[in-house]
């Protein structure tokens, strides 16, 4: 028989007859694809963005020279004197806040004539040297002559736009000398870009340059920093990506369910077609084509939807990248043909793969089944006890996988453990469903009446369908609760940590743009001024520098160890007391490192770190490791005295002020603000700083919740679709019940009870699985990806409310199917079949 005819009879006609259900399936695939695509696009745009921020005007530099604390101007002089035709471009790089819009933009000092190719005004090159003059990138949108107020570090001033520079993005540009003055760089540069002539291979140039550079300078091929940043972001993006696959996974379940159901319903029809000469292959092909059609439609819709969702995602992802990793201004979202085609391919692939088992089953239907009327036993092929054993085996395998170390910094075995555990749970579901629904049938009937009894019987009666539904919904619920538990635990851990860690009364930082990799500074005399205030007991100055350690960005900091020792509360990871540890820091090349740093670089207590500081390579001994959750780049902390010895810039990045016991906080705060009048300094009380930190924390995890919500939404849509199919399949039964005296209300209640039971089973299975998954997330995946230890806490309120919402939504999803069931005409449906 012609394949087209089979395809039409078995597939297209039913798809069309049940348009709503087909539409639900397409929407399921579309949402799954959309989420994956949105995260990919947003991640790429956020990761790509730092390239476009500081590296504007990068030109074609082949190498770059950087150093912690700045590159001395002598280095530039030394390079100029080399007998090679290098093109050297010195840079000062920082950020400024545009006062009017509160936007953070790159602020660059460059050699205006040589580098930016700007035209000097009438007054010649002198114009570049005048303070108060800036040039702006075209995207900033100002015209020459505009006045702009900018905050840099702790100062704010008005500037005049002298010109617009092509290809500089939103950056604000001045000549080197004014930039150095403004930013207090002294004679240091932040970076020297070097173009080499093509006469020799790059590695030869590299060794020539390296020989010419003093110790402590970092020479890297261009793009190395971008690479570093991408590597640093890799774990973050991986985890987001994995989260985005959940919705797709849930979608796959539902496709499997839908195709299984169509196979079960059309068994007889398949039998007839086989008896009439259809081949196995054409039956297989027909069902796979159904899946492919759904997948194709879903994929196309998903790409369109994903492009829209990417914009919303980007805002969330970029905010996280900015506060946890690296300064970024999001790049535009780029939906390329390749990505679009990949998205559609994912839709088709996921559908076809999930449809494969039921399609194979369909192809095995033998012609005799055409005659096998009345045996509507779907569950002949269920091997629920064998599956349970298999599931247990998978769980054991998951346990083993969870003990493996990360692979190239990625918790691949952790993800594998998650998959194995989900697989195990899915295999255990039929046994769970059959035991629970049989066990509850009698009790449910006694408590809730005959409707509940019929509902639980019918769930147990079509075990396969029920099991797949419960599997899909419980997977979504499990991921929701696992991520909820993980984030809740993390939040609680951070709250407790802040309580111990933030002991000062007031915290000060410059109003200039701060970020994980930006450390604007306060004027050098700030601490001295504060110390003169009567209410102030102690002032701790903290200075941070961006460094690169083992090819990954990190933060180097100096803090007053005596004060930290006096006020410190939180024990170190080894259990050591703060007072004892901080006493060992001053006057020695000793450092403490944060837990993420230690985990990322495999550093242990007693190890030695070699750091290039102030033109020398210095060896520091790691004496302790401390818990830290402020960012995952990692900190190396030494005493302020030690830091000043190697990098003698006295400006602090942050200042912590401890008030005298009994001093009034408000008064102290006012006194501090008065002492710093005229400077742009932000003063946080202990409480407001914590609140701000938690706000950033919540913003960071907003995307996680959004992804979870989509997965749950997909699952609930699947429940609605499946219940609709169930109503259509069992219409004869509902008709019969009407003959036996059931009211329409009773019919409606049966279906709502079924949804309620499905939801209950899914929540029981989901929370149990979710608990196990959360352990994997907390103790394996998060630890291996980000390096921090999270203490386990049950986020009871959040979890309970999320579960109730999901439950309510599941039952609500049954309203339409139950409406359909009440509108069936009993005398029409009773003789069907």
């Amino acid at each position: 028989m012609a394949y087209q005819k089979i395809f039409y009879r078995l597939i297209l006609r039913p798809l069309w007859r049940e348009r709503l259900r087909s539409a639900l399936m397409v929407a399921t695939v579309a949402l799954g694809v959309a989420v994956v695509l949105a995260i990919e696009l947003a991640g790429e745009a956020a990761a790509g963005s730092f390239r476009s921020s500081v590296e504007t005007l990068a030109g074609s530099g082949d190498f770059e020279v950087t150093a912690t604390g700045g590159v001395p101007a002598e280095v530039l002089a030394r390079l100029v004197l080399l007998p090679h035709a290098f093109k050297l471009r010195p840079r000062i790089e920082d950020y400024a806040v545009i006062a009017a819009s509160n936007r953070v933009v790159p602020f660059l000092g460059v050699d205006m004539l040589a580098d930016a190719g700007a035209n000097p005004g009438n007054s010649g090159a002198d114009e570049f040297q005048r303070g108060g003059s800036i040039w702006v990138g075209k995207d900033a949108g100002w015209k020459p002559g505009s006045r702009v107020r900018l905050t840099v570090n702790d100062g704010s001033a008005d500037y005049t736009v002298r010109g617009v520079i092509e290809g500089a993005g939103e950056a604000i540009i001045t000549d080197l000398a004014p930039a150095a003055r403004l930013l207090g760089r002294g004679s240091n540069l932040d970076r020297i870009l070097i173009d080499v002539p093509p006469s020799r291979p790059a590695d030869q140039w590299e060794s020539i340059l390296r020989a010419a550079l003093p110790d402590g300078m970092t020479l890297a091929p261009r793009g190395a920093r971008t690479e570093e940043n991408r590597r640093m972001l890799a774990a973050f993006r991986w985890n987001l990506r994995v989260l985005s696959y959940i919705a797709l996974l849930v979608g796959a379940f539902l496709i499997y369910n839908t195709i299984s159901v169509s196979v079960v319903r059309r068994r007889e029809e398949i039998g007839v077609l086989r008896a009439l000469g259809a081949t196995r292959l054409s039956v297989l092909g027909a069902f796979l084509s159904e899946a492919a059609c759904l997948g194709l439609a879903g994929g196309i819709a998903g790409v369109a939807l994903g492009r829209v969702m990417a914009t919303a995602c980007l805002r969330l992802v970029a905010a996280t990248v900015d506060s946890l990793y690296v300064s970024s201004t999001p790049a535009p979202i780029a939906l390329t043909w390749a990505v679009a085609v990949a998205g559609i391919a994912i839709g088709v692939l996921v559908s076809v793969v999930s449809a494969l088992p039921p399609a194979l089953e369909a192809s095995r239907v033998v012609p005799v089944e055409a005659m096998a009327r009345g045996r509507r036993d779907h569950d002949v092929h269920m091997h629920r006890w064998r599956d349970l054993a298999l599931g247990a085996a998978l769980a054991v395998a998951a346990g083993l996988a969870s003990r493996q170390p990360p692979v190239a910094g990625k918790p691949l075995f952790g993800y594998l453990a998650v998959l194995l555990l989900i697989g195990g749970a899915v295999l255990a579901t039929p046994a769970l469903v059959s035991v629970l629904s049989r066990a509850t049938a009698t009790a449910a009937g006694r408590i809730f009446g005959v409707e509940a009894m019929l509902a639980s019987r019918s769930l147990a009666g079509s075990l396969r369908r029920t099991a797949v539904l419960v599997g899909a919904l419980s997977t979504a619920i499990a991921m929701l609760s696992a991520v909820g538990i993980m984030v809740g635990s993390f939040r609680q851990t951070v709250l407790l940590w802040m309580e111990d860690r933030l002991r000062a009364d007031l915290y000060l930082r410059p109003a200039g743009p701060a970020g994980a990799d930006r450390h604007p500074t306060l004027a050098p005399g700030t601490a001295a001024r504060l110390q003169r205030i009567p209410e102030v007991a102690a002032v701790d100055q903290f200075r941070a520098y961006e460094i690169s350690y083992n090819g990954l960005p990190a933060t180097l900091g100096g803090s007053d160890a005596r004060i930290a020792g006096r006020y410190g509360q939180r024990p170190f990871l080894s259990g050591a007391r703060p007072a004892d540890v901080f006493a060992q820091l001053p006057g020695r090349d000793h450092v403490i490192v944060s837990e993420p740093f230690a985990n990322k670089h495999g550093v242990k207590r007693g190890d030695t770190l070699e750091l290039p500081l102030g033109g020398r390579r210095i060896h520091f001994r790691v004496i302790e490791i401390y818990g830290d959750y402020s960012n995952e780049r990692g900190y190396i902390i030494m005493d302020r005295g030690t830091l000043l010895k190697y990098l003698p810039d006295p400006s602090p990045s942050n200042v912590a002020v401890y008030l005298r016991p009994g001093a009034n906080l408000e008064q102290g705060r006012r006194a501090v603000e008065n002492a710093l009048a005229g400077r742009k300094v932000m003063v946080f009380t202990n409480r407001s700083l914590r609140k701000e930190a938690i706000r950033i924390f919540d913003r960071t995890f907003a995307i996680t919740y959004a992804l979870e919500a989509v997965a749950v939404f997909v699952a609930i849509m699947g429940v609605a679709g499946a219940l609709l199919a169930l109503v259509i399949d069992r219409r004869r039964e509902f008709g019969l019940l009407r003959f036996l005296g059931a009211s329409t209300g009773q019919i409606r209640r049966i279906i709502l009870f079924e949804a309620g039971l499905l939801g209950l089973l899914a929540e029981i299975a989901g929370v149990a699985l979710g608990y196990l998954l959360s352990l994997l997330l907390i103790y394996v995946i998060n630890r291996q990806s980000f390096g921090w230890t999270i203490e386990f806490h049950w986020p009871v309120t959040v979890l309970l409310s999320a579960l109730s919402i999901v439950y309510a939504a599941t039952v609500l999803a049954a309203l339409y199917p139950s409406q359909v069931a009440t509108q069936l005409v009993p005398i029409e449906v009773i003789h069907e079949d």
Partner: protein, 225 residues
């Protein structure tokens, strides 16, 4: 007055009459058999009699009320109290045991002592030992006995049976017919049964012959000598 009265009842399906001006009285306790060729309107008449369907014109009076005048709720109550149905294809719920199938109408109507009553009815159809079985573990004749027990469990005044022996061999069919006849006698249940079987016509109090939706003749074989 009659338990069931058809008063000039017509039923049109897209213009074509399935019942055409049918007037008929069924007295309490009577065993009435409907015969006629396939498509003559037997099933339609039963549906209309059981208030599962309604006449296009004319009226059906069941137990003193006009069925088409009742609300949805009242109809449900009428079905729960007055009517029992038996089908050609048994129509047992596959996910319920035999006993549970029989209990079902009582449970739906929220009547007390459902399982005792159900067991009692199973005893009447000699199926009391099969209460725990599932429907697929029964033979066709056994299934139909269970279906009859279910139709009678709430002691309806009227039992409507649409070809109850149609799916059974003739010996089993005879047993089922005898069973129905006994029940009608003992319990004063009125039975209205559509059938093709000749034997059925012989044991009935009244035989109604339909042709193209009209009552062709009404015979009372048992009342003869």
């Amino acid at each position: 007055m009659a338990l069931l009265r058809f008063n000039h009842v017509s039923k049109l399906y897209s213009g074509a009459p399935a019942l055409d001006d049918v007037s008929l009285d069924v007295e309490r306790g009577q065993f009435v058999v409907l015969v006629g060729r396939s498509g003559c309107g037997k099933s339609t008449l039963l549906n209309v009699a059981g208030a599962m369907d309604f006449p296009t014109s004319g009226e059906v009076v069941l137990d003193g009320v006009v069925t088409s005048s009742l609300s949805e709720t009242a109809l449900t109550l009428l079905r729960r109290g007055t009517v029992g149905f038996v089908f050609q294809s048994f129509q047992l719920l596959p996910s319920l045991s035999v006993l549970e199938n029989v209990e079902l109408p009582l449970l739906l109507a929220r009547r007390p002592r459902a399982s005792e009553t159900a067991l009692d009815r199973l005893r009447q159809v000699e199926m009391e030992d099969y209460g725990a079985r599932m429907p697929y573990q029964l033979s066709g004749g056994q299934m139909q006995r269970v279906a009859i027990a279910r139709a009678l469990v709430h002691s309806p005044a009227l039992l409507l049976a649409d070809e109850p022996t149609g799916n059974l061999d003739s010996t089993t069919g005879d047993v089922i017919l005898k069973l129905l006849q006994n029940i009608a006698r003992k319990q004063q249940t009125t039975i209205l049964m559509a059938t093709h079987s000749v034997e059925a016509a012989e044991i009935a109090d009244v035989v109604v012959r339909l042709r193209d939706g009209r009552v062709q003749e009404v015979l009372e074989p048992a009342s003869g000598p």
